[in-house]
Symmetry: C2
Subunit: 423 residues, 2 copies
């Protein structure tokens, strides 16, 4: 039985482990921290829990639905968040163990072309590196304590005035949660627009919606210093302005954990492992997820995992990122997109979708087609993070616009907006 | 310009009107009540609003999310419900007017093969009958005031102990809303299972979840009398039992509005207009929606509308109900299904889906395949009513199981559970 050694148990590592077991390989999964990686423990899942709780609070105090007077207890929100991640982690551990994956809780080291685990060389037929990433702190002059996404998702924060440095996905999601719980939030970014990789519609419309939520944006603003001033945190900008608040979150991006990997003879380019279209870094060594792509998403990592195991078994059915990668930001409203945004665009405001009116009508659906096929999908609004998967199916499986016309969509739903937009 | 005369402005009638205008026909739309029909004014939309508000109340008092202490005000819930339907109705009216549909607010009558509107014969090249349905009250012996779904969705009810006669979609949705607001709810039905047309998984599992919500079920129970007793409402069953509560909702089904249509020379079978595969009842007369199918769903009616206009223009691209009809019940958890449930079934409990753990893990996904294609989808759980549309696309467009394996689904979402189930 050939042996697959996997370093890192995030969505790349654990999916690779499960796929490899299914194909009959011996699998050793090495993890230095908690099973599930950043996504489960400090990323996607805890952030979604924070947004979920704060959105519930907003809805249950706003009065729109005939419901009001709700209060929140931050320690209980954090307890709920913890329970969410623990439940998922436990389930994942059970699934891994049940499927026969050998989990080794240790930090892998890379020396002279070898993988060292617990002081001994660990052998393998195939090595899959899925070591992930960590928050990147730019070279600001920092003379006070700052928060990173790790602190936030671990619960070491308070609901008070906050400066968020970074208008990317992480900064906006945490900023949204804090704003909905009543904190004053200022988002600062050097870029002229939020979410640099998002389609223009999302950049312009979502920032307008988030402003309505009370978030203040300072774009085109370069941070120089973060320091303490009169018992507050202060951020000094290049233009001389100084902004103060009770806490500062720095969320400008993430850095791949590739230190030491060059000793395996891999090529590292600006921090990322260089891989081929099947995620191969060298011979029988593969690199997946955050260390191998700038699209640092949990589902990119899981997709890579699938590509690698498929390659190892000789099936080679598909190449990495051959298909569009859906993306979303879990703000309120949510925004999501997938595909290309160059074709003809049909648009529908969410206010025309019955189910949206039941919840919230802020938003729009925009579908790009070449006349025959759907090429791209952009949505801002409640449910966007789900409907983007429907769009991913339509684009990747080449369902035609005419097909969509014939398909019966249930009413009243948000996703029928997909069909309505095309009609 | 040929003229299309449409009677009834529900999802069948208004969709037919919009499609017909798009194809360049003159369109007269006759409506005796409010634009939007049952779905918009007394059905789907107001029910969803009631469930939405009551689910919010449940979540904002349960404490699970760190949020508690919310209160509700029924008159404000009803105001929210009214605002929801009014917003949608207004939008729909504007869309109709803007697209050039002539709306006539009057009751159409059918006499000697003619359509009479406001006392005059209304001419047409094509007549589309979309007169809908109304609550059906079985021949119980009723000597006290009862409620129907009309009263509930119009807001003439209270949050107090309720007997719901009928374990179909309407009874369960309203029962769920009342139970979540704190009322004691007893659902009585003559059938041995809830939701007679639903797959077995839904019948058994959903009733278990609804029991957990506090709903009491009395199945296999034939109602004989509804009367007043000591200031309460009482329901006497055939077995001699008498159940009492503060209000009684009778929601055992709906009756098609086909009275008078036989004078147009149409064939009526047990209350329904008999139509062919293109919804044609006779020559240039078509019948769509609730008067022509036992699948009395808004989206069946809109689908019929599409089939008819397609037929009239000569395109004839598809026949009525040639494709699977997704269905759902908006209880908590929701349940939804589409397709056939005979093939091999793969199952996934929602507790394995990260995003479900963030909200609620009650539920299951069940996908039936023939090995190559997806044939049927059943889901109980949060988001089921949206994901059923993804399933409808997959089944109708014949996306293969192998295709799904390759398609990238965003994480963490509920809909990635669709892919997870198949893997």
């Amino acid at each position: 039985m050939k042996k697959v050694l996997i370093i890192g148990s995030g969505p790349g590592g654990y999916e690779a482990a499960l796929h490899a077991r299914k194909e009959g390989y011996e699998v050793v999964l090495v993890e230095k921290d908690k099973i599930g990686g950043t996504c489960l423990n400090r990323g996607c899942i805890p952030t979604k829990a924070l947004v979920e709780a704060s959105y519930l609070y907003k809805k249950a105090t706003g009065g729109k639905f005939g419901i009001k007077g709700a209060t929140f207890d931050l320690s209980e929100i954090i307890a709920y968040r913890n329970k969410t991640t623990e439940t998922l982690r436990k389930g994942l551990e059970q699934t891994l163990v049940k499927s026969g994956v050998q989990i080794v809780k240790a930090e892998a080291q890379f020396k002279d072309g070898k993988v060292i685990v617990n002081g001994k060389e660990e052998s393998y037929d195939y090595l899959i590196l899925a070591t992930g990433s960590r928050p990147f702190i730019p070279p600001f002059e920092i003379s006070t304590e700052i928060l990173t996404s790790d602190n936030f998702t671990e619960g070491n924060f308070e609901v008070k005035d906050t400066i968020v440095v970074g208008a990317g996905v992480i900064g906006l999601e945490i900023g949204t949660a804090l704003a909905m719980l009543g904190a004053k939030v200022t988002v600062i970014d050097i870029a002229p627009k939020i979410l640099p990789a998002a389609p223009a519609t999302v950049q312009s419309r979502l920032s307008a919606y988030l402003k309505k939520l009370g978030i203040k944006f300072m774009l085109n603003s370069k941070v120089e210093k973060i320091f303490e001033k009169d018992g507050k945190k202060a951020v000094a900008l290049e233009n001389g302005d100084v902004v103060t608040a009770d806490q500062v979150l720095v969320a400008v991006g993430r850095k791949p954990n590739t230190e030491g990997l060059e000793s395996l003879g891999l090529q590292i380019d600006r921090g990322f492992v260089v891989t081929d279209e099947y995620c191969k870094a060298k011979d029988n060594i593969f690199a997946i997820g955050d260390i191998a792509t700038r699209a640092m998403l949990a589902h990119t990592a899981s997709h890579h995992a699938q590509v690698v195991i498929d390659y190892i078994t000789g099936k080679k059915r598909f190449k990495k990122e051959e298909f569009p990668i859906p993306q979303f930001v879990y703000t309120q409203p949510e925004a999501a997109w997938v595909g290309e945004f160059t074709g003809r665009a049909k648009k529908l405001v969410l206010g025309a979708v019955g189910k949206a009116i039941v919840d919230q009508t802020e938003g729009i659906i925009e579908i790009h087609t070449d006349g025959e096929y759907v090429k791209g999908f952009v949505m801002i609004g409640y449910g966007a993070s789900e409907i983007v998967n429907l769009a991913s199916v339509v684009i990747t499986a080449k369902v035609t616009v005419e097909d969509i016309e014939k398909i019966i969509f249930a009413h009243p739903t948000l996703s029928e907006g997909f069909k309505m937009t095309l009609m």
